[in-house]
């Protein structure tokens, strides 16, 4: 044929705005710290604002916890552990956690709207993924509370005590659930610090745990930025620390906890390879690539940010990928049709754009697709970076945005080697129609979560966590439960 046939998506059938209603959401103008069952201001009286990244408008004023407040929160958690939570019958403890699960499900839509307002993620995701999974996580772990001896037979598992937990801004409520649910079910009390750009759903959760009657002090929530987290990790009265966030901060935490004997779990960064072999189900691979990197604007530690595609199918695959990306709707997070929402913060957008510039300066080709982004707010259109190699910074470093690098390979071994050629080891993907090859590649990837012919799937029963610089310990499933228990010599720390 003389000319290549192409599909056309413009002018297509354009969808009118379909905004999620917000009239059922109750938000206060200001939130204090949730300590010992009550909202209280920070000792210093300091506050900060949390803003809507889609509009740049402030939503609420949030108390900024200092070390005095952290002391108070840990003391409340200690008291609740000693006097109430560790003495409660495990089955009763479990029933409280079940209550939390059900209450989240009841208020799911409100939580979803607040999550999207505060963090910029599409309402479709907060509604269909974040909030239901958060509820399911509590429901799963609740049932473990009175079955610990069956989870770890022969070691008489015991709760650890007070857990300090610091979570990131990309899945605010879900990460709170990942941290709180196993900790509480295992019999620990908690001081949790949400991220400073996305504190609202954690604070709504504080209201919820008070509403369901959880004894005061079992869950304490202190808001603030890095200083607050640093005060928490340095607190001498913690029996467990859990962190999800950047590898750099994780390294600081590991150094801080060195020699303390405090067990810790770290969920850190990633630079996952998504490998498409020549016999893959191409259209589903395209979908998996899209879901792998544009889910939650690419603010996902396990994002499939490096596409490795067989040279034999690179051209048809990339054609289909670009076509698919062009149908993505970038825009208002509260619109039900939005596929790619707002970047979480101005700082993160700057960081992403800096990487795109680095890629361009390295001689790579930058392609951006999807609908036009709104004029105001923090947005980044889905981005492909082609013409790169392992040696490029954009291939090596975690960008944490909707930016996919594309590399080709010729053989299975070359794909495996490129996939593993990174200090990270959180996740990976492989696309092939051949069963034996699936098991060979999933076995060869040095990563804690491997998706075969799918990507970015999560479930409360499924352990999640990294190899190498992507962290240590697991969250989710039976293995995630063990991280909050003393299993006797050699098993815990």
């Amino acid at each position: 044929m003389a000319t290549k046939s192409t599909l056309a998506f413009e002018p297509g059938w354009q969808y009118d705005p379909a905004p999620e209603s917000t009239d059922h959401v109750s938000l206060r103008d200001s939130y204090g710290l949730f300590i010992d069952g009550e909202f209280t201001p920070a000792a210093s009286g300091k506050t900060f604002e949390t803003i809507n990244p889609a509009t740049q408008a402030p939503i609420a004023s949030i108390a900024q916890a200092g070390s005095e407040d952290v002391d108070r929160a840990v003391a409340a958690a200690r008291k609740a552990y000693d006097t109430v939570w560790s003495k409660m019958k495990p089955a009763e403890r479990g029933k409280y956690v079940f209550r939390i699960a059900r209450a989240i499900a009841e208020r799911a839509r409100e939580f979803a709207v607040v999550e999207s307002m505060d963090g910029g993620k599409p309402i479709r995701e907060s509604r269909d993924i974040d909030i239901p999974l958060a509820s399911a996580h509590f429901f799963y772990y609740a049932g473990w509370a009175d079955k610990l001896n069956y989870a770890f037979p022969g070691v008489n598992p015991k709760s650890l005590g007070v857990a300090g937990q610091v979570i990131p801004w990309n899945f605010p409520l879900l990460m709170a659930a990942w941290k709180l649910a196993p900790a509480l079910a295992a019999g620990n009390t908690v001081v949790l610090k949400p991220a400073e750009t996305t504190p609202l759903t954690a604070l709504k959760l504080a209201e919820l745990v008070a509403d369901v009657g959880l004894p005061p002090g079992v869950v304490n929530i202190v808001t603030g930025a890095g200083d607050t987290g640093a005060a928490l990790v340095r607190h001498p009265d913690l029996d467990k620390f859990a962190f999800t966030g950047s590898t750099a901060v994780g390294r600081d935490i590991m150094r801080t906890l060195a020699g303390t004997g405090t067990p810790y779990t770290l969920e850190l960064g990633g630079k996952a390879a998504n490998i498409v072999l020549e016999d893959a189900a191409l259209d589903q691979a395209v979908e998996g690539i899209v879901n792998g990197i544009f889910f939650n604007q690419g603010h996902v530690c396990c994002a499939g940010s490096r596409l490795l595609v067989s040279e034999a199918i690179a051209e048809p695959l990339l054609d289909r990928l670009r076509t698919r990306i062009d149908t993505l709707i970038v825009g208002d997070p509260l619109d039900k049709n939005t596929d790619v929402g707002a970047i979480n913060s101005e700082a993160q957008l700057a960081r992403i754009n800096e990487y795109i510039d680095i890629g361009r300066a390295e001689g790579a080709e930058i392609w951006q697709g999807g609908s036009d982004a709104p004029q105001s707010g923090y947005y980044c259109r889905p981005t492909l970076i082609t013409g790169v190699a392992q040696s490029n910074r954009v291939v090596q470093e975690e960008i944490f945005g909707p930016v996919l690098t594309v590399q080709t390979f010729r053989t299975f071994d070359e794909a495996r080697e490129k996939a593993n050629n990174t200090p990270y080891g959180l996740s990976g993907g492989v696309w092939t129609d051949k069963g034996s090859r699936i098991f060979k590649m999933t076995g060869a990837l040095r990563a804690g979560v491997v998706w075969a012919n799918t990507f970015n799937k999560f479930d409360p029963t499924s352990p999640f966590g990294g190899y190498k610089e992507s962290g240590m310990g697991r969250e989710g499933g039976l293995h995630g439960l063990g991280a909050y228990l003393d299993l006797g010599m050699g098993a815990g720390a």
Binding site: A136, V155, T247, G250, R251, D252, M254, R255, L257, A258, G259, G261, L266, L268, P423, I438, T442, A447, G448, V449, V450, W451, A452, N453, T454, K457, D459, T461, S462, P463, F464, G465, Y467, K468, E469, G471, M472, R474, G477, L478, H479, L487, G488, M489, G490, A491, A493
Partner: protein, 290 residues
């Protein structure tokens, strides 16, 4: 006893064990040990950081093959180590005695070491079943989690018991598919060197276990700082040295396990949790459909 000996003893040269070979330390340094059985002094290599570096290269090179060996084969090989050790029980007991261990205790330690090898040989094709899970996810996927070896483990072995401590720390790491670079007891190093000979006769591939003798103070910081070491097992190191090692380990997120004041003769000091200590859990998702 006549004062005239029929023949002169042939003394053993105590060397390092790296990559299935017995080199002397590249540094040429040694330390003298006075045998408590009156047989005179022996010289033991004082390994350098370069010896350690070479051992890590050997250990890394052995990871792919050893971790891919079948669980059955790893179990067979570890059982074979036990057989070889059993056959040389008298030699090891004498060597431990020469390091100051009472005779009865020395033989008991050798026997316990053989039994511990067999204990872990038996775990080889079982720990995966105990540490794995099939996870009933809510979507149409088959989802399972299983342990995989962390990689290269650097170990500072217990000062005492010299042989049983070595076996108790190193073997659970290798049964799980890791390879090890171990620094033997400073105070009781002789049986470690002899143990290398047992390994050498037991079908253990070169590089899977590498044994160094030398000074903890000198080598620990290099072990903790090496970027191609994935985990540290630190036995009875001082608080300061241990804490410094943990800090250094953060650079590449080594998994650090510290073992202080463990009674390695107790049954409770052996368990699948010692294998689990140097395993990573991998979760795999597969769609289920026709």
């Amino acid at each position: 006893m006549s004062g005239e000996r029929a023949r002169l003893d042939v003394a053993k040269t105590y060397k390092l064990y790296i990559g299935g070979k017995f080199p002397r330390t590249e540094s040429g340094r040694y330390e003298s040990f006075e045998r408590s059985d009156g047989a005179g002094a022996v010289n033991v290599c004082r390994a350098s950081r370069k010896d350690f570096r070479n051992a890590v290269v050997a250990a890394r090179g052995a990871v792919a093959g050893w971790s891919a060996a079948s669980a059955y084969l790893r179990g067979q090989i570890i059982y074979r180590i036990a057989e070889m050790l059993e056959g040389r029980a008298a030699q090891f007991a004498a060597e431990l005695h020469a390091e100051g261990v009472a005779e009865a205790a020395a033989m008991a330690q050798v026997e316990a070491s053989v039994d511990r090898l067999i204990y872990y040989a038996g775990w080889s094709d079982k720990y995966t079943q105990v540490l794995s899970s099939v996870n009933p996810v809510a979507s149409a996927h088959f989802n399972f989690s299983l342990p995989e070896p962390t990689g290269v483990v650097a170990a500072v072995l217990p000062q005492q018991p010299g042989l049983l401590g070595l076996v108790s720390v190193v073997v659970p790491a290798i049964v799980g598919g890791n390879t090890v670079v171990a620094l033997a007891s400073e105070s009781h190093p002789l049986s470690a060197v002899s143990f290398a000979e047992v390994l050498h006769a037991s079908d253990v591939p070169g590089g899977v276990i590498n044994l160094l003798t030398g000074q903890r103070d000198e080598l620990l910081s290099h072990m903790a700082g090496h970027m191609d070491v994935n985990a540290l097992a630190l036995c009875d190191v001082t608080a300061d040295a241990g804490n410094a090692a943990e800090k250094a380990a953060a650079e590449n997120f080594k998994r650090v396990r510290r073992f202080d004041n463990v009674d390695w003769s107790a049954d409770a000091s052996a368990s699948p949790w010692h294998i689990e200590a140097f395993q990573e859990i991998k979760t795999t998702w597969h769609p289920v459909a026709n």
